[in-house]
């Protein structure tokens, strides 16, 4: 196969359609994506989209009300309520959740969700329920998310669930209404990309750094129109939590979805979860799941290869998630930046109050946010706790730890992690999307710098005028301790 070399760290296979190249292969192997996709096609419209059957539909309070209104206007009910799961996450406060929501519009939206779920027979894990949490945290931890499924939600980070070997993607509210009405969506098949990462990770480097590194190489539009499979020995070595962090940010590359072939790590994670298959059904499911991988002769439209050893702790300096660098590097200049971000660099740095060519290390930080569907799982909290134990936050930094779900919160308390946070001056809050998106009460004030484990550094994302630096939980915790952007490797023994 002809390979075009772009630089030392990654390669792109030849041009030409995937179909043409697939014809050239001896066995015409199928990709993981195709194995799942093909099983879920009800029919295909000529010169049009396919009718894709949806196994699981997650909903939340922000993108569902207009869809329920649409159903009510048509006088129909949710077709398959038992394949639909609801929670309240975007608009909920993360303190005093036992009290009524103060902000009226947020409260009305959460109340509308309760009413709609009741009327349509949809299970709701709302505020006060022991399963409540961020929709992309609770699906996996309850065992609802399983390999081979098609999963959608009115939220772009639905790609998270792809870590289990599922086709999972975000949809708009009209599409939420389609799934309510028919349990199907009209979808055109995306092109297929595989991103391979091989080798052992360096000290202080975790899965968030991997995905920020990939983003810095292929840019925030590098995978638009593609379904991405993440593969290679580095990916195989990761826990489910770490894999979810990577698939979560597939959408930040523009990808329709991101997925990873399920393996023993996946199966062990799912086994015993509240809603996972039990007894004889477990073995039946397991046999099916074990067929879910890309055949050795499967063909992708585009393929990238990265080496784990090249990845250092990462941080973003700009206003899209592709604008990332190693914490030890300097901010690019118009001469060194990639084409995708060249025209936006000056505007971006003006917003961020940062300078071309300057070091990012040593940048003063005001807030630290550890949470969101990207990094709020128990493993993230354990990692932060183990690093900060015996240390204390810098005086002028505010640190928020927001667990992804009630279950994560309960687990953290059971393990005594909450005490470590308290002693370090970190505030452990209650589950929700929190300061990821500047929608609920948790916002970063204008002009302030927040090192955040979330997924987006867009202008105003964490609050109007807020300046976001995306990083791993470890790098965020290091900044919490020093008060500055810090290379965490310097603080590890």
């Amino acid at each position: 196969m002809e390979i075009q070399t772009h630089n030392d760290s990654y390669k792109i296979p030849p041009a030409g359609s995937r179909a043409e190249r697939r014809e050239r292969t001896e066995f015409g192997g199928a990709t993981l994506f195709e194995k799942i996709w093909d099983k879920h096609i009800v029919k295909t419209i000529d010169d049009g989209p396919s009718v894709l059957y949806i196994d699981r539909h997650f909903i939340h309070e922000v993108t569902s009300p207009q869809a329920f209104t649409g159903l009510n206007k048509r006088g129909i009910k949710v077709l398959r309520p038992h394949q639909t799961i609801a929670t309240a996450d975007h608009n909920v406060p993360t303190l005093n959740q036992h009290l009524p929501i103060k902000e009226e519009l947020s409260r009305l939206q959460v109340e509308a969700l309760i009413q709609n779920c009741h009327e349509h027979g949809v299970e709701l894990y709302g505020l006060g329920h022991p399963f409540q949490g961020i929709v992309h945290v609770i699906g996996p931890e309850l065992g609802i998310t399983q390999p081979g499924m098609t999963i959608v939600c009115g939220d772009s980070h639905t790609s998270t669930h792809g870590a289990f070997g599922a086709i999972a993607f975000g949809i708009g509210t009209s599409e939420v209404e389609m799934v309510f009405a028919s349990q199907c969506l009209l979808q055109s098949k995306p092109k297929l990309m595989r991103i391979n990462i091989e080798g052992e990770l360096n000290k202080g480097v975790v899965s968030k750094d991997i995905v920020l590194y990939i983003l810095s190489k292929i840019t925030s539009s590098g995978a638009t129109g593609y379904a991405i499979e993440f593969a290679g020995s580095t990916i195989r070595s990761l826990s489910m939590e770490a894999r979810m962090t990577i698939c979560n940010m597939s959408i930040e590359m523009g990808g329709r979805c991101g997925l990873i072939a399920p393996d023993e790590i996946t199966f062990n994670y799912i086994k015993g979860k509240p809603l996972s298959p039990k007894e004889e059904q477990w073995q039946v499911s397991l046999n099916k799941w074990k067929t879910l991988y890309s055949d050795t002769d499967a063909v992708f439209d585009k393929e990238y290869y990265f080496k784990a050893e090249d990845i250092e702790p990462m941080i973003t300096y700009g206003t899209n998630p592709g604008m990332g660098i190693s914490v030890s590097a300097t901010i690019p200049t118009v001469d060194t930046i990639n084409e995708n971000d060249k025209s936006g660099l000056a505007k971006s740095l003006t917003y961020m109050g940062l300078t071309q060519g300057a070091a990012i290390k040593g940048q003063k930080i005001d807030y630290v946010f550890i949470g969101s569907c990207t990094n709020s799982r128990i493993e993230d909290l354990r990692l932060v706790a183990s690093f900060i134990k015996g240390k204390h936050k810098a005086d002028d930094v505010e640190v928020w730890i927001v667990p992804g779900s009630k279950q994560v919160e309960a687990q953290a308390i059971a393990e005594g992690i909450d005490k470590i946070f308290e002693e370090a001056g970190f505030m452990l809050r209650q589950p929700g999307c929190s300061a990821c998106l500047g929608m609920n009460e948790d916002k970063i004030p204008a002009g302030k710098y927040c090192i955040s484990t979330s997924n987006r550094n867009f202008e105003g994302r964490q609050g109007a005028g807020a300046r976001t630096l995306l990083a791993s939980p470890l790098t965020a915790a290091a900044a919490a301790i020093t008060g500055f952007v810090t290379d965490v490797r310097e603080l590890l023994n």
């Binding site: 009718v51 975007h90 936006g344 109007a464």
Partner: protein
């Protein structure tokens, strides 16, 4: 007429459509240029305005934080095109990778509510493109060169988008480019059909699929 468009037409043409979209065939209009790349949906409509439970009224907050200083409607940013009186029209022209980020359909609703029927760019993010089409807003993807030609025109220049012919034309210069759209989506837009009508119409096939394939 290809494929099952004929049957689709017969299935939908006489339906009383609940959420019937406004049909779109040709648009002749001046345009509003926003020459910025990678415009994400948080800029199109910030999250704090997503608390409504209806689809109406989002237009006034379109590009909210680029239109006003400090979220104050009395402090407009004079250099932002939506605030410049010389620019007007039903066509928004923006830099490449328009609509990336969040899946919020509120972005499409705010663009439509503001008065745009067409967005022209050299590249669109997937979810935004679907959301726009589902609301009767036409995303027209042109080459980067053609996009730059549009940005060079003065504020009196009109553009014509002909959906039937799939062309976009700069009236003053006669420059024209063809754009792609699936014939299914084209039929839907030209007639104001939506996907939900279609999916409900094939409910029996879906139930058969559930019994046989799942």
């Amino acid at each position: 007429m290809s494929f099952e468009l004929a049957s689709l037409n017969s299935k939908l043409i006489n339906r009383s459509q609940v959420n019937k979209m406004k049909a779109l065939t040709t648009i002749l209009s001046r345009f509003v240029p926003i020459n910025i790349e990678n415009i994400d949906t948080d800029q199109i409509i910030p999250a704090r305005f997503l608390k409504a439970t209806t689809k109406n009224g989002f237009g006034k907050n379109l590009f909210r934080d680029w239109r006003y200083y400090n979220d104050d409607e009395s402090k407009t940013r004079a250099d932002f095109p939506l605030n410049m009186s010389q620019f007007d029209g039903e066509i928004l022209v923006a830099g490449k990778n328009f609509g990336c980020g969040s899946s919020r359909e509120h972005a499409a609703w705010s663009i439509l509510d503001y008065g745009f029927r067409v967005v022209v760019s050299s590249f669109f993010a997937d979810i935004f493109k679907n959301n726009a089409l589902n609301n009767g807003v036409l995303p027209v993807q042109v080459s980067e060169a053609f996009l730059q030609r549009i940005f060079l025109q003065d504020n009196n220049t009109e553009l014509t988008i002909d959906l039937e012919k799939q062309t976009i034309t700069i009236i003053s210069t006669g420059e024209q480019e063809h754009f792609d759209i699936s014939s299914y989506k084209k039929t839907c837009l030209m007639n104001g059909y939506d996907d939900i009508d279609y999916l409900i119409s094939i409910k029996e096939e879906i139930q058969k699929f559930e019994l046989e394939k799942l």
